[in-house]
């Protein structure tokens, strides 16, 4: 195992390094999200079929994408915590769940709002939306299990197992929902599947995705630092930190 791996395992080191990284990521997130939003809202050309309502995808697609990759992050962190008994990994996994759930809700809500002008109804049992809904259910299960178990380490291990089971299931769920959708739905056009999206349309989308990654990093670090402080509250370094803060 390389040295940084062990360092990462130390909550104290982790607290310090995230403290140093936070401002940079925060600035990057704000800048990228602002540029992406303004570009997407004001400068990107309107879609020839949907007009201007397509501009919602600059929010919908990145959040949907993030909700999935946060689940992956959570499961991997959980696995690391499970295998190497690494406390920090447990804390990362725990901090991921609420962020992922929030972004999944946002993806669903923007999907619904986008659906109204596009499909004429707030909710359509479209394959992507349905998969996202199930992903949200998976997140809710993880959060519910984590909050139901009192012992911190048991909660972390149990949720890691659940997250991994969910991870194995996600491709199966996705495949089955896609298949179910083609069976029951007349094909609707899908904006993201259109072959040629001009660069002035997808570049802002890319910027938004990177911006959301930075945003996720910021929130994750904020939550992680809280977790570290709470769990390490008895240690001498947290005590010193508290005394310093008191001034």
């Amino acid at each position: 195992m390389p040295r940084w791996f062990y360092q990462l395992a130390s909550p104290r080191w982790c607290y310090q390094i995230t403290g140093r990284l936070l401002p940079g990521f925060a600035i990057a997130a704000v800048l990228l999200l602002m540029i992406g939003t303004v570009w997407g809202l004001a400068f990107a050309p309107p879609d020839y079929q949907q007009g201007n309502s397509f501009r919602i995808i600059y929010l919908h697609v990145p959040t949907a994408y993030m909700a999935q990759s946060i689940y992956l992050t959570m499961a991997i962190a959980g696995a690391i915590g499970l295998i190497w008994k690494m406390k920090v990994a447990d804390m990362v996994a725990k901090s991921c769940a609420p962020i992922g759930a929030a972004l999944a809700v946002l993806a669903l809500a923007t999907g619904a709002i986008w659906g109204k002008p596009t499909w004429g109804s707030w909710w359509v049992w479209d394959a992507r939306l349905t998969s996202m809904l199930i992903l949200l259910f998976l997140y809710l299960g993880v959060i519910a299990l984590n909050s139901a178990i009192e012992s911190e380490s048991t909660a972390a291990q149990s949720t890691a197992v659940l997250a991994l089971v969910g991870l194995v299931n996600i491709p199966i769920i996705k495949y089955s929902v896609d298949w179910w959708n083609t069976l029951h739905q007349p094909a609707t056009f899908k904006v993201t599947e259109k072959p040629a999206m001009p660069p002035e349309m997808w570049i802002p989308l890319l910027i938004m995705v990177i911006g959301f990654y930075c945003f996720f990093a910021v929130v994750l670090m904020l939550r992680l630092r809280n977790e570290i402080l709470r769990r390490e509250r008895r240690t001498s370094w947290v005590r010193e930190l508290l005394l310093q803060m008191r001034g």
Binding site: I134, F137, L138, L140, G141, A144, L145, A148, I149, S151, S153, T154, Q157, S158, V161, L162, L164, V165, G166, V168, N169, I172, I173, Y175, S176, V177, W179, W180, L183
Partner: protein, 245 residues
Amino acid sequence: MSAFQTKKLPELKPGFETEAFSPGKILLATLKRDVKLAFRRQSDWVNPLIFFLMVASLFPLGVSPEPKLLSTIAPGVVWVAALLSTLLSMDSLFRSDFEDGSLEQILVSPQPLYFVVLGKVLSHWMMTGLPLTLMAPLLGVMLFLPFEGMGGLVLSLLIGTPTLSLVGGIGAALTVGLRKGGVLVSLLVIPLYIPVLIFGTAAIEASLTGLPVAGHLALLGAMLVLGLTLAPLAIAAALRISVSG
């Protein structure tokens, strides 16, 4: 010292236990024990069956008694009812063993947990999934499911319900140490049941329209194989974690 009656114990033979152990034997023994337990506590397996019947009979009352409508929703209704009644019985899979200390005894024994768990899940299926499958045609008749659909109904349930027991077992194992595990198991497990539900109902619909059913059943079978190999591992890990807490 003289107060004691002297005891005699057989000599210890070091390494005595390691010689004989076979996965098949312990699986069979677990199966036998759990089926015996279920037969002595009838409510454990009879109640989910009654629930199955009741849920299915709610739909004509809640939706409409019109045969045409009912026959279109029948595959979904039977499958959803089967899914819910499996969930209902899931919580008790490990709970009584956990509460009376039997689970600890299993964990400290030199048996591979994988096979004990597999035995428990299989016996659970034999006491819930199998009777559900056998009862399903009755529900099919109540919901005006055409006769052509019966084969698909029974076969899809036969292959699909073991997967429900296996996946549900993971939820049961994760929540066994908790006082109010019941609803939680459903929250954890329902999203994981969705693929089984989709392909199960699709198999019935295919057999209704005369399309080949084999493809759907093969997919259900693939999920069952995946479940048989991976779910006991997850259940075993979850049990160790839950008991440890």
